[in-house]
């Protein structure tokens, strides 16, 4: 498990300032679970909002997509490796936001595969805080994109 998650984390295409996965706790063909801590010095807190930092909803979606959709997608295609460079593009999402996430908070993201067919992965996702409360939940889908040459 440790080797698998490390391999997947190494494959992620995000730079440091836009990587929202710290650790992958679980991965199997039906879903993924991982964590991320929003450090207080993340650049968007300065402006969202002025003097009232709160994690933007769009960042919560991105976090759920990176852990729940992209890491799971990379895991699912692990065994069908080709020479092609593969990435995953988010194509739709529908998310409810139930609680705010403040700077410094750690979150747990769990995803359950709804279907993975014709290169489209659709997942039910939820994010929980340290109290075990659901902060947001919904559905995220993405398409596998093959880039033959970099």
């Amino acid at each position: 498990m440790v080797t698998t998650s490390k391999k997947i984390l190494d494959q992620l295409p995000y730079g440091k300032s836009f990587l929202f996965v710290d650790e992958l706790l679980h991965l199997d063909e039906n879903g993924a679970k991982g964590t991320y801590t929003y450090h207080e010095d993340l650049p968007f807190y300065e402006a969202h909002f002025k003097n009232a930092p709160i994690t933007p909803a769009v960042i919560l979606i991105e976090t759920m997509a990176q852990i729940g959709l992209v890491c799971l997608g990379f895991f699912l295609i692990e065994n069908t490796k080709t020479d092609q460079n593969i990435s995953l593009a988010m194509t739709s999402n529908a998310i409810d936001f139930l609680k705010p996430v403040y700077p410094g908070e750690k979150v747990w993201v769990t995803s359950e595969k709804v279907y993975f067919r014709f290169n489209k992965l659709s997942c039910k996702v939820k994010m929980e805080n340290a109290l075990g409360e659901i902060v947001c939940k919904g559905n995220i889908s993405g398409m596998l994109i093959s880039k033959a040459h970099e």
Partner: protein, 84 residues
């Protein structure tokens, strides 16, 4: 189920995925999902999954790759229905 009925069912299935109302009203064999109805590849997958459910058939990868026009899609649905 004849061709006209299949096309009628297809029109119902694609309705939530297109903003091209006039192309949808005039849907026929020559309608292309991508160029006429402006449906993207991600929504095309959902349409194929809806077709499987509606007609109670299984679509494989090769068939999916061909399902870009109403004509090709109707042919595949007819073939699968007859095989079943």
């Amino acid at each position: 189920m004849d061709k006209t009925q299949i096309i009628k069912e297809l029109a119902k299935i694609v309705t939530p995925y297109t903003e091209e109302k006039s192309a949808l009203e005039n849907i026929g064999e020559d309608t292309d999902f991508i160029t006429d109805l402006k449906i993207n590849s991600a929504n095309l997958v959902d349409i194929v999954l809806d077709i499987e459910e509606k007609f109670n058939i299984a679509i494989d990868n090769d068939s999916m790759a061909k399902m870009l026009t109403v004509k090709a899609t109707v042919e595949i649905i007819e073939t699968k229905l007859n095989a079943g």
